[in-house]
């Protein structure tokens, strides 16, 4: 019985890793779609978003089954409940990645893009997502803390982007494009927040303490 339970927990873990990997792929596809104007990658991000949704439902069902049938306690219970919270953050990351890809698809290519450091934000956000999933995979508390600490950096980048865009709009540059970029930056900033949440859930699963931000 217990063996079976542990097998299920292991399975859950693997599925979570897969979902994390899907998120990473979705956001890097979206970013590439933006940076390189690749429409195919944009479509891939949308497809991955559906995959992620599917995975979320799957994992949710598994968690429910585990909770109801095995009634885990202590660290096992924390692992399952952390998993349930993590997947909703991951699902949001998927959504935002596909939103970014959608904006990128309809965006005009212009010199404005080069002037705004949205690319930096994208790289920072991808880094945070990768590290938060890594922290989960390796149960690495230090890495989780590092991810949480990096959120401020991303927030700072967002403010810089906003300021730059305000300037550009004031100069009378392409306002619509600037707004698109602002939305995109906001999405990346949100992705950073979700990565940060994932890291917090990793911390909770390991230590039993959840830090509210």
């Amino acid at each position: 019985m217990r063996n079976h339970f542990h097998e299920q927990l292991e399975r859950l873990n693997v599925e979570l890793i897969e979902m994390g990997a899907l998120c990473e792929e979705a956001i890097s596809a979206a970013t590439k779609a933006y940076l390189e104007g690749d429409r195919q990658l944009g479509a891939r991000a949308a497809y991955l978003e559906q995959e992620i949704d599917h995975k979320e439902r799957d994992i949710e069902g598994q968690c429910m089954k585990l909770l109801l049938r095995q009634q885990p306690v202590a660290s096992d219970l924390r692992a399952v409940s952390a998993a349930m919270r993590m997947i909703s953050d991951m699902e949001r990351i998927g959504d935002q990645a596909s939103d970014i890809a959608e904006i990128a698809r309809d965006m005009k290519r212009s010199s404005v893009i080069g002037e705004v450091p949205v690319g930096d934000m994208a790289r920072a956000a991808i880094g945070m997502v990768t590290d938060s999933v890594d922290a989960f995979v390796r149960s690495d508390l230090k890495l989780a803390h590092a991810v949480i600490a990096r959120d401020d950096q991303l927030d700072g980048l967002f403010l810089a982007v906003r300021e730059k865009l305000t300037d550009l709009i004031a100069q009378g540059r392409d306002g619509g494009l600037c707004l698109d970029l602002l939305m995109m930056a906001k999405y990346f900033e949100r992705i950073g927040d979700h990565a940060c949440n994932i890291a917090q859930w990793v911390e909770y699963a390991i230590t039993g303490e959840y830090e509210e931000d």
Partner: protein
């Protein structure tokens, strides 16, 4: 075991108690009935004496606790102190009376219907032949037991408690040495029970076997680890659930992963999509391979399932770094494309001009010009083919070329002589300076190297520029420096000029001539001599190439 011993001890205690109670009661009962019989006999004798002397009067005057019956010779009851003699039946057939009439005394015991009482009869014949009989009553064992039930129960409880305590201590005492057995070294300090010796010997033997096998396994594992650790390829062994059973550092290095936890899933090492696909496929029992990009290296992933019967029991993953191989392939592809292109260009011109001439579209006075062009192009073609042959010979390692002593300064002068006409034509002054250095090398190849370098120095120079060849010696090296005041090589091209057919300025290559293989030949020839090639250049100011030959 303690429990069993305890239960058995307790059971023995209780059984002993019950048996002794039964035995004791039996003895007691026997004793009492004998006492009663004796008493009855005495009393009967007394009563008999009394009746003998006084007759009926004695009986009537007697106040006896026992029942007294006087029976006549024929069995008729003459007197009974508990019942009316007249109503009583004939007693002649009673056992004790019969015995008394036959002998002088008789005894009999009879149980009452309820078994709760037993009556003992003692009869004695008088002088006149009549019989006096006394009857005494005795309680049976059951009654006796019932009357003693309280003390017996009390004793039982006390005995049980005592037995329980004692048997607990006993069983613990028996078990303790067994519990304290040192199973690691079963034959030392364990001389408590001789009966255990064979068992302990056997345990010791099995311990030894297990130790040996563990040691053997450890050795095997070490050998295996040593083998896999020294492979540059990555190696992963998975079980059927995708858990990592074994890995080598090569795999971690190639994947850029950290050491996985015990029994961790392989996806903790890498979770990229191509990797997941390969792993999932191989765990379904299909062999497959994939391709990964990790930190600028391209990795080939080969996966083979480990089959046990029809089920997949695990998988072996091998990671190969195929970056160089792919680059090599890429270069070969480019080379083939370049060669075909370079060969085709002069051929097209030759064929085109020949065609025009064949069709008679050329005026006779122009034929010479066309022929010159055809000649020039064919020369170019020949040079190209020669260079390619040369290069492929160098590629093969130049095994068929004999090494000998080469005088570098002398060789440089020869080269300068050969290139003199071209230098004059381009108005470039050429100078050869330095001191003689001798190295071990292949003269024709070294000459080719210097020729190619000086050729470049003249070709890519400004009119009125200067090209210098300097031969000098350093500690362990002989250095040939070819310097020019030419156009130089831009920074981004410096690493690529040694590639085959690479041209910095592709648009003017035809005017300048050359095959695009010169520096490539220099590079390969240098490798053949273990020599180093250094390139320094400032665009617009000139280029310096140093060849360092080991002395």
């Amino acid at each position: 075991m303690t429990k069993k011993i305890f239960r058995n001890c307790l059971a023995v205690g209780i059984w002993v108690f019950l048996l002794s109670v039964a035995l004791f009661m039996g003895m007691l009962y026997q004793y009492f009935s004998e006492r009663l019989t004796t008493e009855l006999e005495n009393e009967t004798a007394l009563v008999a004496q009394g009746v003998e002397t006084m007759g009926m009067d004695y009986l009537e005057g007697l106040r006896a606790s026992n029942r007294i019956t006087w029976v006549d010779k024929d069995g008729t009851v003459l007197y009974d102190n508990t019942a009316d003699a007249a109503t009583m039946e004939n007693h002649a057939d009673r056992e004790e009376i019969r015995e008394a009439i036959l002998g002088s005394q008789g005894t009999a015991r009879r149980e009452s219907a309820t078994l709760s009482q037993r009556t003992i009869y003692v009869a004695q014949r008088l002088e006149d032949g009549t019989v006096i009989r006394l009857a005494g009553q005795q309680h049976t064992v059951v009654r006796l037991l019932l009357s003693m039930v309280q003390p017996i129960l009390l004793i039982l409880v006390v005995t049980m408690a005592l037995a329980a305590v004692l048997s607990a201590r006993l069983s613990r005492g028996i078990i303790r040495p067994i519990l304290e057995l040192n199973l690691e070294h079963p034959e030392e300090h364990n001389a408590v029970y001789d009966e255990l010796s064979p068992l302990l010997t056997r345990i010791r033997r099995q311990n030894d076997t297990i130790q040996n096998q563990i040691e053997l396994l450890r050795q095997r594992r070490q050998e295996f680890t040593a083998l896999t650790e020294n492979m540059s390829e990555g190696f992963l062994l998975l079980d059927h659930k995708g858990r990592v059973l074994s890995y080598n550092t090569g795999a971690l290095k190639l994947l850029g992963a950290q050491a996985p936890a015990e029994e961790a899933n392989v996806f903790t090492l890498d979770r990229s999509e191509p990797f997941r696909q390969v792993v999932n496929q191989v765990l379904e029992g299909r062999r497959c391979q994939g391709h990964l990009e990790r930190s600028g290296r391209s990795l080939q992933l080969l996966a083979d399932p480990v089959m046990r019967g029809k089920d997949c029991a695990g998988a072996v993953l091998v990671l190969l770094d195929v970056t160089e191989k792919e680059q090599g392939e890429q270069m070969r592809r480019e080379f083939t494309a370049n060669v075909s292109h370079e060969l085709k260009t002069p051929l097209t011109s030759i064929s085109g001009m020949a065609e025009i001439m064949k069709d008679g579209l050329v005026r006779p006075e122009d034929v010479a010009g066309f022929a010159a062009d055809i000649y020039k192009e064919s020369q170019r073609l020949i040079r190209l083919v020669e260079d390619i042959i040369h290069l492929s010979r160098l590629d093969e390692g130049g095994d068929n070329l004999q090494k000998g002593e080469v005088a570098l300064l002398e060789l440089s002068r020869t080269v300068e002589q050969r290139l003199h006409p071209m230098a004059e034509q381009r108005k470039v002054t050429v100078e050869v300076t330095g001191e003689e250095q001798r190295i071990l090398g292949i003269s024709s190849v070294v000459e080719e190297m210097i020729y190619n370098l000086l050729d470049n120095a003249i070709k890519y120079n400004h009119p009125g520029g200067k090209a210098t060849v300097n031969v000098s010696g350093e500690k362990d090296w002989a250095v040939v420096r070819v310097q020019d005041t030419g156009i130089g090589i831009p920074e981004e091209d410096r690493n690529r000029v040694f590639e085959r057919f690479y041209r910095v300025d592709k648009s003017h290559s035809k005017e300048i001539g050359g095959t695009g293989l010169g520096l490539s030949i220099v590079k390969h020839a240098a490798a053949l001599h273990n020599a180093q090639v250094e390139l320094d250049s400032t665009p617009g100011r000139g280029t310096t190439v140093r060849l360092r030959f080991p002395k």
